[in-house]
Structure formats: structure tokens, C-alpha cells
Symmetry: C2
Subunit: 464 residues, 2 copies
């Protein structure tokens, strides 16, 4: 993308040395995320070290209408941080300052480029943690966690990232710096502007700093794997778990198809012998292990056909590994097409029945692997390429499959993207989850905040 020479001159003369790079390797690495569907094409990468540098760079880009893609840990799965049209990339990776933990207030101020796991490590010495925990935590950064309102494995216990941020510093497309909410739990002084930027995938502003809200490290949880013969039984188990005398921290679900793939790939230990079709992995906090055992005993009288309560940390990790290696095992043993959807919990059963019926009817022989954070209504729908179908036919059909799946999602008042966001990948399907009125209001907000459309252009909102 040809930018005016004055843009380049200003970059060279008014910013520190090494502020920007056009090195091919850096352009390549910084213009992709974990999504594989897009070809990288960026014009330059900038590496601000301060909010003031971000602000000046944005003001410069506004002056010359230069597009900017904010770039964090790039672990996204929807292409929200890819540069495909010669944009410039603003990497937060040099902004990694971690403040001192405020033990009394249970807060921590960090710059946006701090990796999620570094926050966990930093707080642990004080017996505190930031309760957002996700598989990508070694690479993902706080700015991206907030820009995508990340969830993770303990949403049912702690909620989404939105709940765990007090203050935010945000740079607008024109370079204006907003200081939002400081370290306040309560602040009813007009529109809460933080909320605009949380979860909007960098199309409205660049999150440069955040004051995180912490909690004390919870006691070591108990981990259980329970086997059932149906999704009905899984949901019945879920209802009982929410009424049981313990605190539910995670309620994960997978089918025997998923488990078979994990065993094929990872040769993992399978602790249950009774054949079953639907599994639930529970993590619970309790001060009363006897009551937990009694509860499991009651469940085994009807809905549960087999189960195990992990004896110690190693077995707990082994049970979690069964759940956490599903995604990798599906990719290693076949060619999956993935969707990350959410349903109101009350619709889960009917949705899954509808899904089964429509695959049986329209795509007989296709293997559908279901798993996910079912306690949040979140289902990963993975469809595997039939062995006798060639790759290109399968890829061509998946877009048709998506439209069918998303129609069913819409019919059940669900979301086409529970956690992964919209980015570039899901943009063509956004209308399945958001009405024309909502799209119109989103466009009005985008226009008001970013009138030139220079910030993360083309992401989230489909072209008119």
C-alpha cells in the first residue's frame, strides 16, 4: 500500500530508532494469527514503547488515512489481528510493564502487551490471581484478552474478562488517550466507555493499559469425570451440579467420538470402562469431600453410568488432558472443520437433536464431534471430512454446512461465535447472530469513533 512520503519521513524523523520495521520476516510473523485461512500482507510494523508513542502514531495515521491493525499475542482464531491488505501493524509487544500488586485493593496495573500467564505468575506470590485462564495463556496478551472479552475454562465460576478489569487506558483512532475508570469497582458517572472497547476486537480503539481485578487463589479443586448415555443426562447432571452442596468451577462436555479420537492420537489413559456416549468433566470446590462423594453416588443411581473422582493432582491433570487434547487429536487424526457456537442452555438439547437430524439427512456419513464448555452454553461443533471425500470437495461443502449450522443456531437464539470473535473469518455470517438494527447501530458507533475507518479495517462489520 503506497503511503505518502511525508508519512514515511515523519516516521523516520519524529519517532525513536527501531520504532518501525519493514523487514519481511517481521511483516510475515506479525500479520497472521492462529487462523490459517488468510495470506499475510502488511506494509510495516511499529513497536511503540509508551502510550504517548501509540497516540502520536495514531494521530499520524489519521493525518494520512493510514490503516492500522492492533496486534497482541495473535492467538486469535477468527482473523481479528491479521493484515491482508497492506495495513500497518501496531504491535503491543514492547509494552510489558507489570505494576506492583495492590494486595489491599486486589488490583494490578499492566501494560497491554503483558502475556496472560505473566500476570498469573506475578500475582501468585501474593496468593492472588486473575481468574481468566485459557489454553493460549502463554502467548495471549492482556490487551487482546480484553479486546476479545475472553472466557476460558472457568467462566461458569468467574465470568468473562469484562468482569475482571477495573481501569483501562485506550487510544482512539485520532490519537486521543482515554483514561477510564481508574481502579474503581463502582463509578456511576455516565456512559461506561470501557465497555465499548471490551470485546470489540480493536475496531474502536487500542487498549494500551489495564487495571485488573484479582481474586484470591481458590482452594485446590476436585476433578470428576462422569459418563452418561445421553445429552439429556448430561443436562440433568448439570442441573443437579448447580444445586449440589459444592461450588461448580467448570462443567465441560464431550462425546465418545471425541474420546475415541483422543485415544487414537494420544494413547491417553481412559479411566472408565463402562461404554457410554456422553461425558462430563466437572471441577468443583468443596470443603466437604464426603458430601461430594454422596452426590456422585446419588447421580450413579440414575443418570450416570460410570464415574471417577480424581485422587490427587496427577489424576486430575490426566482427566483434564482428555478434554484438552480433543482439538489437537481431531486435527491429528482427521480433517476437522470447526465452529464455536453458543446456545441458551434451555435450547441445547433441541439444537443438538436438530443438528443430528440435519446431518443424517443432508450429510450422511459425516462425523460430527461435539464438545465444549457446555455449562456456558458453549459448544464446539467439529465436522470431520469423510475419509472417502477429497479435500477440495470437503472445503467447498463446509461453507454450505456453516450456513446450515448457523441457520439452526439462529433458530435457537444462539451465537455463531461464543468465544473466538468475528474478525475476518466469521464476518460473512454475522447476520445470523445480529439483527440489521444491531448492525446499523454498530456501524454508527464505528463511524462516530473512527470516521476514517483506519482502525482494524474490514474486521467484524461486513461491508454494506
Amino acid at each position: 500500500m503506497p503511503f505518502p512520503s511525508e508519512f514515511w519521513n515523519t516516521l523516520k524523523t519524529e519517532f525513536p530508532e527501531n520504532f518501525f520495521s519493514t523487514e519481511e520476516a517481521l511483516l510475515q510473523s506479525h500479520s497472521v494469527d492462529w487462523t490459517t485461512a488468510f495470506s499475510p500482507q502488511a506494509s510495516l510494523v511499529v513497536f511503540p514503547r509508551t502510550t504517548e508513542e501509540i497516540s502520536r502514531y495514531m494521530a499520524l495515521c489519521t493525518r494520512f488515512a493510514v490503516p492500522v491493525v492492533p496486534s497482541g499475542g495473535r492467538t486469535g482464531l477468527a482473523g481479528g489481528a491479521v493484515a491482508t491488505q497492506g495495513e500497518t501493524i501496531l504491535s503491543l509487544e514492547k509494552m510489558r510493564a507489570l505494576g506492583a500488586v495492590d494486595v489491599l485493593g486486589q488490583t494490578l496495573e499492566v501494560e497491554a502487551g503483558v502475556p496472560t500467564e505473566a500476570v498469573h505468575e506475578h500475582c501468585a506470590q501474593h496468593g492472588l490471581f486473575w481468574p481468566i485462564d485459557l489454553a493460549a495463556k502463554g502467548s495471549s496478551q492482556i490487551g487482546g484478552n480484553l479486546a476479545t472479552n475472553v472466557g476460558g475454562v472457568r467462566v461458569i465460576r468467574y465470568g468473562l474478562a469484562r468482569q475482571w478489569v477495573l481501569g483501562m487506558e485506550v487510544v482512539l483512532p485520532n490519537g486521543t488517550v482515554l483514561q477510564l475508570n481508574n481502579a474503581l469497582e463502582k463509578n456511576n458517572t455516565g456512559i461506561d466507555l470501557r465497555q465499548l472497547f471490551i470485546g470489540s476486537e480493536g475496531i474502536l480503539g487500542i487498549i494500551s493499559k489495564a487495571t485488573l481485578k484479582l481474586v484470591r487463589i481458590p482452594p485446590k479443586p476436585q476433578v470428576l469425570l462422569l459418563a452418561t448415555h445421553s445429552l439429556e443426562n448430561i443436562l440433568s447432571l448439570f442441573l443437579r451440579a448447580r444445586q449440589a452442596p459444592f461450588t461448580l468451577c467448570a462443567f465441560e462436555f464431550f462425546t465418545s467420538q471425541c474420546l475415541a479420537r483422543v485415544q487414537q492420537h494420544r494413547k491417553r489413559y481412559m479411566p472408565l470402562e463402562t461404554p457410554a456416549s456422553h461425558y462430563a468433566l466437572l471441577e468443583v470446590e468443596t470443603e466437604n469431600p464426603e458430601a461430594l462423594e454422596a452426590w456422585v453416588g446419588q447421580c450413579m443411581e440414575d443418570v450416570v453410568v460410570d464415574g471417577i473422582l480424581a485422587q490427587g493432582g496427577q489424576q486430575a491433570r490426566q482427566l483434564w488432558e482428555l478434554r484438552e487434547s480433543i482439538s489437537e487429536s481431531l486435527s491429528a487424526t482427521g480433517m476437522p472443520h470447526k465452529n464455536d457456537i453458543a446456545l441458551p442452555i434451555a435450547h441445547l438439547l433441541d439444537f443438538c437433536k436438530g443438528l443430528e437430524a440435519f446431518f443424517a439427512d443432508k450429510y450422511p456419513g459425516w462425523e460430527v464431534c461435539l464438545f465444549g464448555h457446555i455449562g456456558d452454553g458453549n459448544l464446539h461443533v467439529n465436522v470431520l471430512k469423510p475419509p472417502d471425500m477429497d479435500k477440495s470437495t470437503f472445503l467447498a461443502k463446509t461453507s454450505e454446512v456453516d450456513n446450515d449450522v448457523f441457520s439452526l443456531v439462529k433458530q435457537h437464539h444462539g451465537s455463531i461465535s461464543a468465544e473466538h470473535g468475528i474478525g475476518l473469518l466469521k464476518r460473512p455470517y454475522l447476520h445470523y447472530s445480529r439483527t440489521p438494527e444491531e448492525l446499523n447501530l454498530m456501524r454508527m458507533l464505528k463511524k462516530a469513533v473512527d470516521p476514517l475507518g483506519i482502525l482494524n479495517p474490514g474486521k467484524v462489520l461486513p461491508p454494506l
Copy 2:
């Protein structure tokens, strides 16, 4: 306010009978809230029974640029729901439908006019509740609870109302109806538009329905009153309580001045004999009462000078009454000027020291009563008229006092309105808590969503 005859004609011919009223008594009752500072003046009140009627009324008001004040339970304390300039009032009181409780999903769909307490009663039979609990719950309505992002007494345990709503239906100033988020816990599909309307005091849209998120009714809590000799000790106690082997549900604070006023007015039972200056009221959940007693014992070795753990529900209520009758007792025994502020918890001590010093210096002899949800950083600063000062002198001075108090709040990165909102009352002071950049962005959002400025005009945002 003279509206065109076509506006009146449309109202009479295209809306149901009894849709609107210009009866003086109704105009009076519906144009004030619990704030006493404003004189009511409204042109008419409308009572829609459906979202469709709200939408048609807003479209009509847009056509003739007629101003509209959304009206819920009118328990606000900042004049957010008052009509003082001949506006029309849109009351939600006829929209009181309560859906069936979704026990599996733990959700409940309600219309905006349902009183908070009615939600509690409706859910209780299923062992569920909506964890937003406030003194005004008998009158306050769900729509207003969301429009003001209400907190209440259990914020430290459950957070603010923002966390306890899944779906929302909102009518925009032009009559557009938005259906937002259904009953979804996770939905990462672009800008979360719900957040615009939560806490913005009805200046952007009218919340007409909501799908609330419920939790199971917690076990009966333990209630403790602990006495100390300083605010330092209260904060030290707070730190220990967050690290203790129980779940903290409330951590309230008041000074001996407050307590003296309660005893003067209500002749309430005072269970502690040791003289003390600062009190904390704790509500905790625990399965292990012995550990709680041991913890209290440890605290009494240093920071706590006296304490009581309620034995049974009646005593627990009596302890809560001490805290809850403070506001009423101050009004009954003197003339208080009230502020509801918040500080980052780490700043509480320095702020209070600064406050004390500046009153001693600038307003010697004035009585300052401090109490509040200190676990959320929330302080009610009540200043009492000195007995020998006449009322008008006091009232004239309170605006000066406010500017001084708010300057100190700003210096400590606090909020001039923790819970009560801005409305009309705090509008002149908004700049103490929000920067010019924030005010500018809020104005841009208001302009984008309500270009004619007909919705709750004059509220929150100060005139340019």
C-alpha cells in the same frame, strides 16, 4: 411545553384508550423521584403496555421532536428520572410481565416495569434469586436497576447489575427496537450493545425487557459486628477478611458518629460495650463456623476491640438495622448534606485523612458522618448542618463543600457518584470524575444514537 396539534391528535387516535394522561396528580407523582431538589413539571404521562407501543410513541416523539423521560420506580437520588422542563414521561409501570423461571438455564425474562422484589419472590420458589438487593427493592424496577447499573449491599460477593443480565430489549429514540443477546452467557459477535444502555440513565434508549441471570439462593450467612479504634484497623480487617477461610458477602463500615445518631433516633439496641470509633459489619458464608470464630478470636488479639457474632436470624437483622437506619437517623436528628463517592480501596485511608484535615481547617465544628460499602471503595459522606448555623447559610455552603470534596476525590482517582448516578443533581460536577476526552466521546455517542436529543434531555451530560 406546547406540542403541535398533530402530535396530540395522533396520540388520541392511534394509541389505545388510557395510553396517556394529563391529570395533574399523575403529572406530579410521575415527574419526581426520591431526590427533593427539583420542581416537577411534565406535559403528559404515557403508559405503554407493549414494546410496540413504546416504539410507536418514540417514533411519534421523533417526528415532532418531543422530549421523553423514561420512568421506572423513581427511587433515584440524583434526579435522573425527574421532568422539570415540560417533558413527556414514559412510565414502564404497566409492563410487569414476569416469565416462567428457566430452572436449567437459571434465567428469567421480565418486562422492565417489574419491581426488583417481585423478581426475588418469583424466583424463590425455585431456590433461585437475582443477586441485586437494595433498600429500595420494593419500589425500584428492573429497567431502572439496569439503566443505573445498580449495586446494593452484596456487590463484593456478586458484583453490579451489569453482571446479572443476559438479554435486553431496548427501544431507541427513533423507535427502533433492539433485541440484544437473547439468553446467552457467551456471545462474541462484535460490539456488545447492551453495555451502552446499562448505567447510562436512559439517555440512549429505553430498556423494555430483560433476561436476568439467576443464582441459587446461598446458605444463610453469618453476620458480625466488629469494633475498632481506627480506619487503618478497619482496612486491615478487610484485608484479613478477604484472606480468611470464608466467603465475604458484605463488608460495611460506619463511624461512632453514625452509631450515636442511630441510637438517638431509633433507640436501637447496641450490642457492644467497649468504646470504639470505627465499626465494620460483615456478612459471610461459611460451612465451618468454628474457623470463623477462630478468625474473630485472632482479630480480637490486635485490630478488633470488641465484637459480636449474631446468634440466629433475629440478632443478624438487628445488627443490619444498625447499619441500615443510619441514613434515616441522620435526617431525623439533623440536616445532612449527602454525597455518595467511591475511591480505589488503596486510596481510602489517605482520602479520609485528607477529608478530616480539610474539614478541621475549613469547616471547623461541622460533623462529618462516614459510612458505606467500604469493601467496594464506596463511602457515603454525610455532612451535618452545625446546630448554630441557619439553614440557608448551610445550603449555600454545601455547594462549596461539594467542590472541595470532589477535588479531593479527583486527586485520589475516585468517583463523585458510586451508585446514585449523575442525573440532574451531579451534572455540574461530572468533570471531577470524567475527563474532557471522555465527555467528548459520551457526547458523540449521544449524538449518534439520539441526534434530536429527545431522550431524557439534560440528564448526565452538562451543557457545552
